[in-house]
Symmetry: C2
């Protein structure tokens, strides 16, 4: 699904590794029969290889990193690799909260809770990037952690549009905001990038109950 942040994760890694692939988009509201035959979980993203299916974005991306090791995206040191995976767990707060914000339908309590969670998810990232004192979490190039959080960071301006008074104050994340500008220059990010305007336009169709999966971008 062209606007799904989880699917985007897989597309970014495929681009970063220059893996030849074919993309088949799915109508998530009306999943085709053949999809369930192939993928019992019925989830996107799924990758197919020799008739076998693998689902779950993080599992797929780690698999791709193992079989296409150039460039390696995880830290070579197991402890640092584990720390990055731990940060991904923390980021789970943001992915859930962003949906809350999108679908808050003007409910100020839900909106407020959503932004509190987004902040709770982002604060450790701002602190960590400051501590690492590198351009990206992966060092001077984006690594797995950078790429795995990117789809939601790309959509952060959209969440802000919904935020009203609860939106995050500008410049509250100086490191992350500068990181975002750097990420936008990365070829793998560029390959899948959609503007906040496009995300917003799609999202309005989704909120209306009839997501326009085929929307022109």
């Amino acid at each position: 699904m062209r606007f799904c942040p989880f699917a985007q994760r897989a597309c970014i890694i495929l681009a970063a590794k220059n893996v030849k692939h074919e993309i088949v988009n799915i109508n998530l509201k009306k999943k085709p029969e053949w999809f369930f035959e192939k993928s019992p979980l019925g989830k996107v993203p799924s990758i197919e290889l020799d008739g076998q299916i693998m689902s779950e974005s993080l599992v797929i991306c780690d698999y791709l990193d193992e079989v296409y090791p150039d460039p390696p995206l995880h830290p070579a040191d197991p402890w640092r690799k584990g720390q990055d995976r731990m940060f991904l767990e923390i980021f789970g707060k943001v992915t859930g909260a962003m949906y809350k914000v999108y679908f808050s339908r003007g409910d100020q309590d839900i909106l407020s809770k959503g932004f509190t969670d987004i902040q709770a998810g982002l604060d450790p990232f701002e602190a960590e990037l400051t501590k690492r004192n590198t351009k990206f979490f992966g060092g001077d190039k984006p690594g797995m952690l950078d790429y795995m959080i990117w789809p939601w960071m790309e959509r952060l301006p959209v969440a802000q549009k919904f935020g009203g008074e609860r939106a995050l104050p500008e410049n509250c994340y100086p490191k992350l905001f500068s990181w975002m500008e750097d990420m936008k220059q990365d070829p793998a990010v560029k390959a899948t990038y959609l503007s906040p305007e496009t995300h917003y336009k799609y999202l309005l169709t989704s909120i209306s109950g009839s997501p326009d999966y085929d929307m022109q971008v």
Copy 2:
């Protein structure tokens, strides 16, 4: 926390790998100040090495598997490793549903939903073990997938006690039930095993609102 299934995951892997370690238990209802200073997530299990902390049971166990490769617990083939991790995601249905069952407090709808989810989580495992036609998911010895689902399988008889008419019919999972008997013979499982009676006894204190973390076993 001695009765926490997530913490048990880490203890099983430490036992499977013969890693020298010290266990510090935490009162989860009254987490000590020093714990937050060490572990910002404030979660168990956490491991400490040279003053640094790593949290999240799966992250910890994968880390331990990398730095203590004997015996290796993941399949060597990246695709099979990915398939096992995907199955772990499916198992997430069971871990959440089991809490629902425990804390259903006689609400038949919650109980019913809980057992439906437990079944939805276990059915693919019964099918997969049949398909693999091996003693364990890992082959003739338990692998990471076996160990990661074990703490909830150890507690399955406890969920059954709460189930009444909704409990899973006996022998509905012949492969998994025979797998459970085999797992109980594994030294790493034995090292952390608690009986259903002990789990049940603890759980009653937890449901009452005053979990007895120091209960004699």
